[in-house]
Symmetry: C2
Subunit: 210 residues, 2 copies
């Protein structure tokens, strides 16, 4: 079996999307941390000209972009189940991949990156973007267990990390209870990999009992 | 046959992605222009809670987000050919859907929206985003006819409008000749729908002859 390597970083929510997918699939992989300086180097740019993590490598096959890596893993290992059985489902899942790439990244994820990594951001714009997407996701999840259909799909894997980690950027998830509960459901799935800032089931059950 | 309705706007590059796909597929549709004020109304928000165009409606099936609409149309009408025959191709196409949703929108498209529609944008950030994605696309197309594989896919349809229309935002495509030539190849495809600012084949041939 060809070795899988994930080029990532421990606190990257984008890398965590890939970790989650690989863990749920039960696939063994190595993770290599690529710091900010190395991302700008020629060797890493040969893997990803955008100079960003995550990058997924499986033998000669190299793929950048967290949503794209999820699309690949779904097509390879869970076709239909994870990426849509019908054209309608494929479209509905793609909506959340776009939101993950755009609004969820440019809102909650940037607010977190400013606080955790000292990124220079346009804070008022990031807050405005967050306030456009959060109510839409929360309302969507009010009567649903998963974003699309009645099962976990790559929509949930792509959209959840930077929403679960939004408190790192100063967003209180108690204001968005359907998002909060959905991130807890995901953290309760068998194999869910630990992520600092994303409480695992036992932690929030303990907290709720106090 | 169920009537297809595209809620759009004549100068929207995101709506043009859908127009292109429908035209290449030879599907009849109605287009309804939704102005900025109507986008904020309750009736339109029931179709798209993000209050954005385009929205695609086919009977009871309603879908927002230009990339998602392309994913739906591909799965429905050109499975494999337009959205990837293999897991590797599906991943490679998804890379460009992410770039279309994020960098191409938040760079070239915002610079254009400021000039054409008077949007308030962070111009230095939009320019920085444009300067991250333009060299990557140009280099990628240096030795390729299409973004993925040897045929048009939804990667090309998603990524091309706001790159072809980048001159509206002050970007000179002569600085990015491989992008320029690719947008011309796309405009030369049978059925390509006219778009102000995106010269059709006969226009740039005439221009080149002068």
């Amino acid at each position: 079996m060809t070795m899988i390597c994930l080029y990532g970083s421990p606190l990257s929510g984008n890398a965590h999307k890939v970790r989650m997918a690989l863990a749920f699939l039960g696939l063994a992989y190595e993770e290599e941390t690529v710091d900010a300086e190395r991302r700008q180097g020629d060797a890493f740019r040969a893997l990803n000209p955008m100079a960003q993590i995550p990058v997924y490598a499986e033998g000669d096959f190299v793929l950048r972009d967290s949503q794209a890596i999820l699309a690949y893993l779904a097509a390879r290992h869970r076709p239909g189940d994870w990426d849509g059985h019908t054209a309608e489902e494929r479209g509905a899942i793609a909506v959340w991949l776009s939101h993950a790439a755009n609004e969820i990244f440019n809102g909650p994820a940037l607010l977190r990156a400013e606080k955790l990594f000292g990124w220079t951001i346009d804070r008022s714009r990031a807050r405005a973007v967050a306030m456009r997407i959060l109510p839409v996701v929360d309302a969507h999840l009010a009567a649903r267990t998963w974003l699309v259909g009645d099962r976990l799909t790559i929509a949930d894997i792509a959209a959840s990390p930077y929403l679960a980690l939004a408190p790192d950027g100063g967003i209180d998830l108690d204001d968005w209870p359907h998002i909060r509960d959905w991130t807890r459901r995901i953290a309760a799935l068998p194999g869910f990999p630990a992520m600092p800032g994303w409480p695992a089931t036992n932690e929030w059950v303990r907290e709720a009992a106090q």
